[in-house]
Amino acid sequence: MRIADESGLKELKNSVLQERDSLRPCITICGGTGCHGYACEKVIAAVENEIERQNLKDKVSMRVTGCHGFCERGPIVVIYPEKVFYQRVAVDDVPEIISQTIINSKIIERLLYTDPNTGVKPVHEDDVPFYNRQKRIIFGNNGKIEPTNISDYIALDGYGALCKALFHMTPDQIIEEVNKSKLRGRGGAGFSTSKKWAITRASKKGMKFIICNCDEGDPGAYMDRSLMEGNPHLVLEGMIIGAYAIGAHEGYIYIRNEYPLAVRNVGIAIKQAEELGLLGKNILNSGFNFTITVHKAAGAFVCGEETALISSIEGKLDGPRPRPPFPAQKGLWGKPTNINNVETLANVPLIIERGADWYSKIGTEKSKGTKIFSLVGKVNNTGLVEVPMGMTLREVVFDIGGGIPKGKNFKAVQTGGPSGGCIPESLIDLPVDFERLTEVGSMMGSGGMIVMDENTCMVDVAKYFLGFLDDESCGKCVPCREGIEKMREILTNICKGEGEEGDIELLEEIALTVKETSLCGLGQTASNPVLTTIKYFRDEYEEHIRNKRCPAGVCLDLISYSIDAEKCNGCGACVRPCPTQAITGEKKKLHSLDQEKCIKCGACFETCKFDSIIIK
């Protein structure tokens, strides 16, 4: 059943809305990848059964949505229209949810979220501190939509922007609108989206392509994937508008095969859009043709780099190649090609629908709109957070993230994925946008944000990221292939207590060479972890090298465990957990720890309630 035109879409939307009673309770259950980790599928089945069993089919509806972002508290259940927010929901809770909350409008206290800092238990989703400081213009609809049901998207004005673009704007006007919005690429480099579109549009050569980059290989980052899983039509709509603006009739979605749910949902979405005439030949009878092919990728980090990605679609494995020529000039099969990140494209329908003036009010002078971050590490609330550009790191980490667990001290936050930089506590009031992050030696990258507490060794952190990059370097160019390996070796030595005077300077020299001379973005940014940790935590490096000490107590070769004679009361709790029986002692008497036997696993440290195990 194709939609004939603009009014056809409006009619469809109205008929969907009419069928739905907005006051009827709707149980939404998060079916995102994070919640699947908590077996949400069982909760989903239980809700289905319970509705059936209590014969409530006409009274409540249910919806399995994409990721809500607060994965750490999954499985998450939100009950509309009030948006009652339940977290860590188990199968056994389901009958109660239905009989209490749905039928008697009673709140079940124990399923509410408790703010660890204030003890407050907010009832509604919008009052949960994790959410209420966010600005979820892109990600917000994830919780309201069943991704495999195009009607859900259309009910929320979906494809309205496409209509506006096709029937009320010329391609140049679209590019101008995007230009006014100052939208910048969310894939890492922050390049102006309208500029890229204009270059691709200006190219006169017949064929052109548009590619959506959903490779997202940063460890710990999953915003693009969650958008694809939870709201694929949003990305499709952005992509169709982009294609129309630049004059492309063929598009590719490059997506990791390791993201089965995203692959499935985007496939279904494409099919549904085609059936309704929103994609394919003669879209909405406007005369514009556009088809999308999904390219499933094997998944190497470097394939996210645009030229490597293109070569991979072409079936070659040539890795990155020198730019210029940029893909916008000479891309897929040698034709002008526009590559955009998933989140970039997801911004487009919003800009077209609400206008650049509205959009550009959000954010800072040069970085407009919002950014989705994947907040992980030593922070109370982990998950995906969408905040306006310019929010300070402090707000993200402490207000939204709820601070550091176990009352520990904040030490640093690493932004931008594996090749981002570490930002120290002294810069915690830094407003987060493209410029500021780059100024302090880090970057926006794809939006990874890893919080580190006082028990983190910064040399060890640099070693970890360089290890990742060393394994992911494609090996094509000399500085990246050889230089990262050298840095990794030096860092490993320092962590082992084999560091020497001059190592820091040598590291800096290598880091600058790799940064300035590498062929592609991987090498060009790979030095950030090293350079920023040296810049902000040089003393920690020096402690390792000169005094063979790891101040954070992390580097195994440099630490030893012992028992504090003053504090040990001989409770004996540490004896059992020790895998090598290194701890001995009589009950109620001072215990002793055999350094020879100790393998530094830290089990005793975790167990002792009296802080009498010391790490030196």
Binding site: E472, G475, K476, C477, V478, R481, L506, T517
Partner: protein
């Protein structure tokens, strides 16, 4: 036409010219390793890095692949450039401490001993062999396998190639002499040939055509043309240092098996 300045000398060149070409025109020499006249720019060794200045922008780019831009200022041997190049050669020297080309480069730059563990490898992964086999010979018998530190040049599945025509283009462009043509392979196809008809490549033991599609008229041979166009002469003579011994080796080998 585009006007730019290289080391303070102005020059006007055609659009699309690389910085390397433009510098060459001015007689300014920039060291290269993975660059070859007849092949597409590859930009892997990064030895040819130069500094560019454009408006507020200042960064380093590979001269062999970066095209000229109007009003651009190029500096080919600033302290910064030389420092980076030295480090790159130091990397290569620690990778291939016994390779003459690299040792000579290091010598010229005054690098005695690399500060890094030595790996004792032959191949610098410049990709010249792979590209010549692909782009010029049009065969694609060898390619890169694996990635990162494990990256190496090899035949598919590490098996004796059945598509390699033994043209020797790869070994002739290799700056490090990392490729040895297997005389066994040459012998094998000479045996297969077993006829009076031999083209000049076959005669030299460099080609393994069982049946020549050009009826042994070399001037019609596409491979012949491509190799000559790209390398100016037959690969075996085209190498930077003419590998006389190698040619002689082939000839004597050829005689031996023909006797």
């Amino acid at each position: 036409m585009i006007t730019l300045a290289v080391d303070n000398q102005e020059i006007t060149v055609k659009e699309g010219t690389t910085l390397l070409k433009a510098s060459e025109k001015l007689g300014i020499e920039i060291p290269t390793l993975c660059y070859h006249e007849g092949l597409l720019p590859y930009g892997a060794c990064r030895l040819c890095v130069v500094e560019i200045f454009k408006e507020k922008e200042n960064r380093m780019v590979a001269a062999c692949s970066f095209p000229v831009e109007e009003g651009m200022k190029v500096v080919t041997s600033s302290d910064r450039v030389l420092k980076r190049r030295r480090m790159i050669v130091e990397f290569l020297l620690s990778r291939c401490p016994d390779v003459k080309t690299i040792k000579d480069l290091a010598d010229r730059m005054g690098i005695k001993k690399p500060r890094f563990k030595s790996k004792n490898l032959d191949c610098i992964l410049c990709g010249l062999c792979v590209r010549v086999c692909n782009e010029i010979a049009g065969i694609g018998a060898i390619g890169f396998v694996s990635r990162g530190k494990k990256l190496k040049v090899d035949t598919p599945f590490h098996m004796a190639s059945d598509v390699c025509i033994g043209c020797g283009a790869c070994s002739s462009v290799c700056p490090t002499d990392a490729i040895e043509m297997e005389l066994d392979a040459v012998k094998r196809f000479l045996e297969l040939l077993g006829s009076e008809h031999k083209c000049r490549y076959a005669l030299m033991g460099l080609i393994s055509y069982k049946v020549c599609s050009n009826n042994y008229e070399c001037w019609k041979c596409k491979i012949d043309q491509r190799i000559r166009d790209a390398l100016g002469t037959h690969p075996i003579f085209a190498a930077k240092k003419i590998k006389k011994e190698k040619v002689n080796q082939y000839f004597s080998f050829l005689k031996k098996i023909q006797e």
